[in-house]
C-alpha cells in the first residue's frame, strides 16, 4: 500500500531537459513543484570531472551514464509477424538516465525544423498532388506553425548559448549561414566553433560542387556565456569526448550547465532521485489525474498527489507510462484506431567514408557538433518530382571524436586482425573520415509502440514493445542523399571511398541515433493525436507531455533537441498564461 505524501501543485516525471525547463518556469510562477527522477543525481564536478571524464571504455562502451536495461528496457521486432525480443543491452539507441537525462550525453547538435516541416502533409499534397504520398504513410501536420514556435526556439537557444551563424535573420538572407533555414528573430547567442581540416575540406568540396556549406549549430560553446537564468557556461576545448560523455568543462549545454543551478535555489522546488514513477493515478471519472505513484530504492511505494502531472521522461517511457496508466486509447495497427503508441518514427542516417592522401586530420580534436554542413537536400528544399520518395536530410562532416576503441578506419578489404590489420590501422587513423547524412523518418501505419505480451520489468509491468522497420520511401531517400554526398566526397580527392546508404531491415544492434520519436503525438484532431497543440492530453486535462520527442507526429531531417526545448517553453507558457487561470481543456 502506497504511503501518501502531502500534495504538490505540480509533479514532474523525469528531470531532463523538459522536466528542468518546466520546473524552472513553474517554480518561478510560485507553484510548489516536485520532480521525480528514476536515476541518480548527477553533477559535473562529481560525475564527469576532467580528471577522468575522458574514459572511452567506461562511458562509451560500458555506457556508464545510460539507462541500465535491468532497470527498464523494451522489446523490439521488425514487423508484426515476428516475436518481439527484449533489448538485453542497449546498442542501437541509448536512452539516458538520471538527472539531466539525455541532455547529459548528447552531442549538442542544435537544429530547428524547417517551416514546411510543420505543415508537411498539406505542403506535400499541395505541391505534388493529393495522391502522391504512399497510402500507409501516416504523416500529419503539426498543430503549431514555425512562426508560432520561433520565439520558443530562440529562448531555448539562448538558454543553451548555442554557437552558430544565422542564415536568415527576419527574412534577410545572411552570408555564411544556412540559406534554407526558417527566419530567426536573432543571431545565435555565440559565434560558430572553429573548424578542423576535415570540415574545411568538405566545405571547399561542397562549394566547388555548387552547394552552400555553413557551420553546424552547436551547443558546445565557442566562448564563455552567461544565459538568461544567470548561469555561466565555459568554452569548449575540443577534447573529443561529447556524445556518451558528460562535459567536464561546463561547455556543453545540459540541464546541469544551463538550468539546475538556478532551479535548485527555488525553495518551492525539490527533486526526488532514484525514485521511479510506476503509474499516473486518475480519479473515478478517469478524466482527471490525482498524482503519481512511485517506488524508491528500498522498494517502498509512495503516492504523490498533485494538481498537474507533467510527463518528462525519455520518449519511450512517456508512451509506456500512458499505456500502463490507462490514459488515452491505445493504437490498434489493424484498424488504425486509437492513438497512444501511434506514429513511432526514428531517423534515417547513412555515411560515405573516405581515406585521404597525405593528410594529418588530427581526428581526436573534436566536439560533438562542430563541422560543416549543407542543407540543400533536407525536407522539401529540393524538388521531389519523379524521385519516388519524400523527405530529406542534412549532410556534411562533423568530427565528433576519434576515440580508438570505436573509431579506427581501415582500407576496404583489410582483415579484422593480425599483422595486416595492425599496419592498416596505424597508417589510416590520421587520414580516414566519415561523412554523414542525417535524414527524416516518416511515420507509417505499421510502425508503432504497444505493451509486450511476454516480457516484464522489475516491477512486473509489461515492457514497451517497438515494431519498426524502414520503408521504401526512406531507403530510396537514403540512396539519393548518399549519392549526392558521394559526389561531393569525390571532389575531396580521396584515395578510397565507400558509400553506405541505409539498407533494411532496421537493426537494433547497430547504433544510428537516439532520436526515437512519436507515440504520444500532438495534433489538431483527437482521433489522430494524444495531445492537443499545447501538449495537453485530450482525455485528462491536467496531464501534459511538454515537448519530449514522443510528441513529434513524424521525425524530420534534423536532431530533435532544439524542437524539444522549444516545445517545452511553448507548453510552459500555455500552462502559466492560460491553464492556471482556468484549468481545463485548452482546446
Amino acid at each position: 500500500m502506497a504511503r501518501k505524501l502531502p500534495a504538490k501543485d505540480v509533479v514532474i516525471i523525469g528531470l531532463g531537459w523538459t522536466g528542468s525547463i518546466l520546473a524552472y518556469e513553474l517554480a518561478k510562477s510560485g507553484l510548489n513543484v516536485v520532480a521525480i527522477e528514476r536515476g541518480p543525481w548527477r553533477d559535473t564536478a562529481t560525475d564527469f570531472p576532467p580528471a577522468y571524464a575522458q574514459d572511452e571504455l567506461r562511458y562509451a562502451v560500458r555506457l556508464d551514464l545510460f539507462l541500465r536495461p535491468d532497470q527498464q528496457t523494451m522489446t523490439f521486432r521488425n514487423n508484426a509477424s515476428q516475436t518481439a525480443m527484449p533489448i538485453r543491452s542497449f546498442s542501437g539507441f541509448l536512452p539516458g538516465n538520471g538527472v539531466g537525462g539525455a541532455g547529459v550525453h548528447w552531442n549538442g547538435q542544435t537544429w530547428r525544423f524547417l517551416p514546411t516541416d510543420f505543415n508537411i502533409r498539406s505542403h506535400l499534397e499541395e505541391r505534388y498532388g493529393k495522391d502522391a504520398l504512399p497510402a500507409d504513410m501516416t504523416i500529419q501536420d503539426w498543430p503549431v506553425s514555425y512562426d508560432e514556435l520561433e520565439p520558443y526556439y530562440d529562448r531555448f537557444e539562448k538558454l543553451c548559448g548555442t554557437s552558430g551563424k544565422a542564415g536568415n535573420l527576419r527574412g534577410q538572407k545572411q552570408p555564411g549561414g544556412n540559406p534554407f533555414e526558417g527566419w530567426r528573430s536573432s543571431e545565435y547567442p555565440t559565434p560558430p566553433l572553429k573548424q578542423g581540416l576535415g570540415a574545411t575540406l568538405f566545405a571547399e568540396a561542397a562549394r566547388k560542387t555548387g552547394h552552400s556549406p555553413f557551420p553546424q549549430p552547436a551547443s558546445n560553446l565557442s566562448e564563455a556565456y552567461v544565459n538568461p537564468l544567470g548561469v555561466k557556461l565555459g568554452q569548449c576545448t575540443y577534447c573529443g569526448f561529447c556524445e556518451r560523455f558528460g562535459c567536464g568543462n561546463y561547455a556543453k549545454s545540459s540541464p546541469q550547465t544551463c538550468v539546475l543551478p538556478a532551479l535548485m535555489r527555488f525553495p518551492n522546488f525539490s527533486a526526488r532521485t532514484e525514485s521511479e514513477v510506476t503509474k499516473i493515478n486518475l480519479d473515478s471519472t478517469g478524466r482527471r489525474a490525482t498524482g503519481v505513484t512511485y517506488v524508491d530504492t528500498s522498494g517502498e511505494e509512495w503516492e504523490q498527489p498533485a494538481d498537474i502531472v507533467l510527463m518528462c521522461a525519455f520518449s519511450f517511457f512517456n508512451v509506456q507510462l500512458m499505456l500502463l496508466s490507462g490514459i488515452g486509447k491505445p493504437y490498434d495497427p489493424q484498424t488504425g484506431q486509437g492513438v497512444v503508441g501511434r506514429n513511432y518514427a526514428y531517423q534515417t542516417t547513412s555515411s560515405v567514408s573516405l581515406i585521404l592522401k597525405d593528410k594529418i586530420l588530427n581526428p581526436f580534436i573534436a566536439t560533438g557538433s562542430h563541422g560543416m554542413i549543407i542543407d540543400d537536400y533536407n525536407g522539401d528544399n529540393f524538388d521531389h518530382t519523379g524521385l519516388g520518395f519524400f523527405g530529406g536530410g542534412y549532410m556534411g562532416f562533423g568530427q565528433t571524436g576519434a576515440r580508438p576503441i570505436q573509431t579506427r578506419p581501415v582500407p576496404k578489404g583489410t582483415p579484422k586482425w593480425g599483422a595486416e590489420w595492425k599496419k592498416a590501422t596505424a597508417e589510416t587513423y590520421q587520414r580516414g573520415l566519415s561523412l554523414a547524412t542525417h535524414a527524416s523518418s516518416y511515420s507509417y501505419k505499421d510502425c508503432y509502440l504497444d505493451l509486450d505480451p511476454t516480457y516484464k520489468d522489475r516491477f512486473g509491468r509489461p515492457l514497451l514493445r517497438m515494431t519498426f522497420d524502414f520503408h521504401d520511401n526512406e531507403l530510396k531517400m537514403s540512396a539519393f542523399l548518399t549519392e549526392r554526398l558521394a559526389e561531393i566526397a569525390k571532389a575531396m580527392d580521396p584515395v578510397e571511398m565507400t558509400a553506405s546508404p541505409r539498407k533494411g531491415p532496421y537493426d537494433s544492434t547497430i547504433y544510428q541515433t537516439t532520436h526515437n520519436t512519436g507515440g504520444t503525438v500532438m495534433g489538431a484532431d483527437p482521433s489522430t493525436s494524444v495531445l492537443n497543440r499545447y501538449c495537453q492530453s485530450w482525455d485528462v486535462h491536467n496531464i501534459f507531455v511538454p515537448g519530449g520527442a514522443s510528441v513529434f507526429p513524424q521525425n524530420h531531417g534534423y536532431n530533435p533537441t532544439d524542437t524539444v526545448g522549444a516545445l517545452a517553453y511553448w507548453t510552459a507558457d500555455a500552462i502559466r498564461n492560460r491553464y492556471l487561470k482556468n484549468p481545463g481543456p485548452l482546446v
Binding site: L57, K194, Q195, G240, R265, N362, W417
Partner: protein, 249 residues
C-alpha cells in the same frame, strides 16, 4: 565504476538547506530528496579503480595461456610496437571478466530466452564470463584432439592463425559453443583492451595509442583546432598520467 547498481548506502544523500526536506524510506534507501541548493559533498566521486598487477582473477593458468597466445596473434608484435600479450590485453580481459562486465551486471537477463533474428541482438542467458569459460574449454579440447594432444600455446604461429581463422569463419565447430560468436567476443575484448585507458590493465605503456597517434586523456586542444595538417606534438597521457611523471626511487 557503477554507482547505479551498488548496494552500498549513498554517502551523498541529503543536503541540509533552508527548505523543508524529508528523507524518503529507510536509512538504507538511496532515494533522496534534494532542494534549496545544488547538492554537493566532498569525496563522493567515483573514479575508476586501477587494475593491479598480480595473479589472474578469473582465468585458470591454462585458460590464461590460451588467451595470451591468442591476443598475440590477433595483435602481433612487430616493429611498430608490442603485441596483444605485452600490451596487457589478457590481463585486461581477465579483470573485465572478474568484474561487472563478466556477470552482465545491469543488463536485462529475465527469461524467457528465445532465439531471435539478428536484428534483435544477443538473446542467450550466458554472461561473458561463462562464455569464455565454455569457449576456452571447447577450444582446448578441439586443439588437443586435432593437434596430437597439444595446447594452443604450443602451436606454431601459422597454426594458431589457422585455428583463429577457422573460429572466425565458423568452419571449426566447437562443442556447445558457436565458434564465430566466441571469436567475435574475444577479438572485440582484445581490441578494447589494446585501446582502452591503461588504467584497465591493457594498452600497457599506451602501446595502442602510440601505434595510431591518439593523445589519450588530454582535454584541451583549443590551440590546435586550426593548425591543419600539422602533427600534434605531445605524447599520449592516461587517466593515471604517464610513467615518466612518476618519481622513481
Amino acid at each position: 565504476m557503477n554507482r547505479n547498481t551498488s548496494s552500498q548506502p549513498s554517502r551523498r544523500f541529503l543536503l541540509a538547506s533552508a527548505t523543508a526536506f524529508f528523507f524518503v524510506g529507510t536509512g538504507l534507501a538511496r532515494a533522496r530528496t534534494l532542494g534549496g541548493s545544488l547538492p554537493w559533498e566532498p569525496g563522493t566521486a567515483t573514479p575508476p579503480t586501477p587494475v593491479r598487477p598480480g595473479p589472474w582473477l578469473f582465468f585458470t593458468a591454462d585458460e590464461a595461456a590460451i588467451v595470451e597466445a591468442a591476443v598475440d596473434r590477433l595483435i602481433p608484435p612487430d616493429n611498430r610496437g608490442p603485441g596483444g600479450k605485452d600490451a596487457g590485453c589478457a590481463v585486461y580481459i581477465d579483470r573485465q571478466l572478474a568484474g561487472p562486465y563478466g556477470r552482465s551486471e545491469g543488463l536485462y537477463t529475465r527469461p524467457p530466452f528465445m532465439a531471435g533474428a539478428a536484428t534483435q541482438g544477443y538473446q542467450m542467458p550466458d554472461a561473458p564470463a561463462a562464455r569464455y569459460r565454455m569457449g576456452l574449454r571447447a577450444l582446448a579440447d578441439h586443439i588437443k584432439s586435432n593437434f596430437a594432444g597439444k595446447s594452443f600455446r604450443d602451436l606454431a604461429p601459422e597454426d594458431q592463425d589457422k585455428v583463429l581463422k577457422g573460429l572466425e569463419s565458423g568452419s571449426i565447430a566447437l562443442k556447445d559453443v558457436k565458434s564465430a560468436d566466441f571469436f567475435t567476443l574475444l577479438l572485440g575484448n582484445t581490441q578494447e583492451g589494446f585501446f582502452a585507458d591503461p588504467i584497465y590493465g591493457g594498452n600497457r605503456d599506451m602501446a595502442g595509442w602510440k601505434l595510431i597517434g591518439f593523445p589519450g586523456a588530454r582535454y584541451d586542444y583549443r590551440d590546435w583546432v586550426e593548425r591543419h595538417n600539422e602533427a600534434y606534438p605531445l605524447p599520449p597521457v592516461s587517466i593515471m598520467g604517464r610513467s615518466d611523471w612518476t618519481v622513481r626511487e
